[in-house]
Symmetry: C2
């Protein structure tokens, strides 16, 4: 089976993943009375593990309550050497370039990966290692913040696979890298 | 009848309206064998006039063949004082701030406007004078170029109205400003 790296992320209309103050409250500003999972469960059923950088990991560790992931999490960090008690055994710390990281993860038997966090997504895109983009657009112009995409050295074409509108407001499009 | 300002524009997955070299060839990279108008004719039927800045006007003037617009065009420029022969009588040059410009256009009886061009769209957004966004996303990451949206002083919420996928690849979403 061929490995696959999937990005699943929400952005504002102007392409930000957090607002000017670093906040993400606007992600949940659309009423969702039936708690639609917005494609998250489908993603979780398709993947073997999650990969994110240190910054995103810190945000996740700050969430109250139970550890949120049912899949193993790889955290990319040069400085982190231990993880909080509540995720012991569920998290592996890795470092190195994208190719080396993927080799280590694949060697452990994890092939389908959910790639999360702005910097990690950027590094994987720059190495042309993203196979699928699943982008959910929230109908707000933030006017500033942290951009999902940064400058990249090459252009990359994708194939549109499908688009779903969730809770009448959130447009989620799936794209596959043309290779 | 209430005036309405509509943005209708195509962007890359990473939010650019032209590529690193200023090119827009990638806009037409998706095969369109039946010449689908991608929502353009519907827009033209809804509007009374078009508004764009000098840069976009120069691009349009450079197109070969007949003058492309059936609706009157307002060009915003402080320096332009005459227009090319092929669009004489079809173009009015205006200048001033967004509110003053809109007043002049409305006074001439044009109420529903198509707002085009990166800088003009930005100025209208900054003045909170955009009522509808119709954004078509082309499935390519350009990695750099001219951004559709720039930093803005305030955040603005929109309502998602509809999403249509054209020629299997281009996702067009319509949004209305929440007021």
């Amino acid at each position: 089976m061929k490995p696959k790296n999937i990005v699943f992320i929400a952005q504002s209309l102007d392409g930000y993943i957090s607002d000017k103050k670093g906040g993400i409250d606007w992600l949940h500003s659309t009423p969702n009375p039936e708690n639609d999972d917005l494609g998250y469960l489908d993603l979780m059923n398709e993947i073997d593990a999650i990969v994110m950088g240190r910054n995103t990991f810190d945000v996740v560790c700050g969430f109250e309550g139970e550890w949120p992931y049912s899949k193993h999490l790889f955290v990319l960090s040069h400085s982190l050497n231990k993880v909080p008690k509540k995720c012991e055994g569920k998290v592996t710390i890795l470092n190195g370039n994208v190719t080396a990281i993927l080799e280590q993860i694949h060697n452990k038997g994890f092939l389908n990966l959910y790639i999360d966090g702005g910097q990690t997504i950027h590094n994987f895109l720059e190495a042309d290692k993203i196979d699928e983009l699943r982008m959910t657009t929230i109908p707000i112009l933030l006017g500033g913040g942290v951009s999902l995409f940064n400058e990249m050295s090459i252009a990359m074409e994708f194939d549109h696979l499908s688009t779903t509108v969730y809770i009448n407001q959130l447009v989620q499009s799936h794209y596959r890298r043309k290779r």
